[in-house]
Symmetry: C2
């Protein structure tokens, strides 16, 4: 009926009637049922997003995605990944909600399953490289980012540069590769040292404790991400090592925490705002019938943000 027209703000109702409908709707506290609407319509106008609720960088991305989706006239459906809620379940929920496209932030799902998913609907993977033309990828140039970090330390005079890696996390393989490439390029292959870390500060602390058990000590540590880096800082602090006088530390992300003065972390910055907008652009370009106009993979250049955790190596090892 005409109520439908009015509630959607479409033309085709007289101003008088329109006002009357809105008035009654207010009195009754009537809100249109989003599910019934979606059920009836051909398009749902829904963009599904999976994210890890405890990852600050994901928060930045989510914020940007809301903003970009809003501009494009799409609704965002969030599906969180938590300790008790697996990624598979988060994705399942979004499918059941009939989202038109999916944006997965740092997905841990095996590639094979991602490809299966991409056969069903447009999938945009953010912050993880998946080499396949059937799905879209928006990621930071991880290799380049790590190179920037290594270059910075080498310029300061470091040679014993270690990498606390991200294990099986998205992007971890690329960053390991970037580390190895950069070390070799500088003729420092003999000093290569990769310790198994992870995404959390606990992982970073654990890895650092392990790193400290062997001699000679590293004078520079590249952590997988900022959170991991805070764990590295923690372990160094407890081991009575001063940063940056004894050891320099570099993170990755430039999450909010990196900028705090008592962390004051030198880090490789990923631009969440740009990545979020690109992810939405990718997803929507697949939906618009005229086919994808963007490249299947967009690689965003990172930048090095130099703060207080990096400096020249201690004289004894310089």
């Amino acid at each position: 009926m005409l109520v439908s027209l009015v509630m959607r703000g479409r033309p085709g109702a007289s101003p008088a009637n329109r006002e009357r409908v809105l008035q009654v709707a207010r009195e009754l506290g009537y809100v249109p049922d989003a599910r019934a609407r979606v059920l009836r319509q051909e398009r749902t106008n829904l963009l599904g997003v999976t994210f890890a609720v405890q990852q600050p960088f994901h928060s930045d991305l989510v914020e940007g995605i809301y903003s970009a989706a809003d501009t494009a006239g799409y609704e965002v459906v969030l599906s969180a990944i938590t300790g008790t809620r697996a990624e598979a379940r988060a994705i399942e929920t979004l499918l059941a909600e009939r989202c038109e496209a999916l944006i997965l932030l740092g997905p841990q799902t095996p590639k094979r399953q991602l490809l299966e998913l991409a056969e069903r609907l447009p999938v945009t993977v953010v912050a993880r490289g998946v080499a396949d033309p059937t799905l879209d990828v928006v990621r930071t140039a991880d290799v380049r980012g790590i190179q920037l970090a290594v270059d910075h330390l080498v310029e300061l005079g470091h040679t014993r540069i270690a990498h606390v890696d991200g294990g099986t996390a998205p992007g971890a393989a690329q960053r390991r590769k970037g580390y190895r490439d950069a070390m070799r390029r500088h003729g420092l292959a003999e000093f290569e040292r990769i310790v198994h870390g992870g995404l959390t500060d606990d992982d970073g602390a654990r890895a650092t404790r392990q790193l400290l058990t062997t001699l000679p000590p590293s004078t520079g540590i590249l952590a997988f991400n900022d959170r991991c880096a805070t764990g590295v800082l923690d372990a160094l602090f407890r081991a009575r090592l001063h940063v940056p006088d004894n050891v320099s530390v570099i993170g990755f992300d430039d999450a909010h925490i990196a900028a705090f003065s008592h962390v004051d972390l030198t880090t490789v910055r990923q631009d969440a705002k740009v990545m979020a907008r690109l992810a939405v652009d990718h997803a929507l370009s697949r939906l618009d019938a005229d086919g994808p106009s963007l490249a299947r993979e967009t690689v965003v250049p990172p930048t090095l943000v130099v703060r207080g955790t990096t400096g020249p190596p201690p004289p004894s090892t310089a």
Copy 2:
């Protein structure tokens, strides 16, 4: 048809047929349409949650809510509040989704509107005190928490204790009150000093810069929350003041960041896990027809976590 029975795991289908249906469903990649199901059913089994995507403490709560809702057989619908997406809109979305009950994390919505909302469906407010029996509240004993913090500083010998408040944020009024009460109880009314702060580190830094312009300097600062406290630490650091030798700082929440060694913040701990479970319990008890068995307001006791940002005041002012 029987497909419906099978997909919901209900009894009433022969094992052979059940397996056949599941097999075909897998092949087709069939996922039941959540919206159609909800539309048909009397109950939606949906729990709506609004949260600020950039608030780490909210992340902790969301994680706990997912877990508790899961146990109770409810689905969680997240609605984020971001810089570009107002709380009113977040709530609107949840109503349109036909959630059975709402859990609002630290809502900024005026009390009047919250009460209007509570007339329509059960509303549980978390981390904000709203004195009204028509809605449920789960909050930390803010006054008690601040008292713990003041007591701690007084025991260490401080007298010039300032409070960087949360402005109009949820809980800010209670914490101001707790501060004033505690100061008076200790006979320190003359040293009362409240500076307008806020929720973010920028707010904390700004307030601290203001605090430092007047003499005599405070030797202890209670920040509204941990994030605000990091801003306080930042401003002190830039002013060449050492923590805790020159100034002691206490936060509130015990968010993840507080525990990082390079922050190592003494803080008042709110138990997110317990609060999340209570919030879900409250919401569900209102839904179960036999009326609410829990008290309308549940106040969770906070605890003081002493870390490295508090110590005795400098001798000159002791």
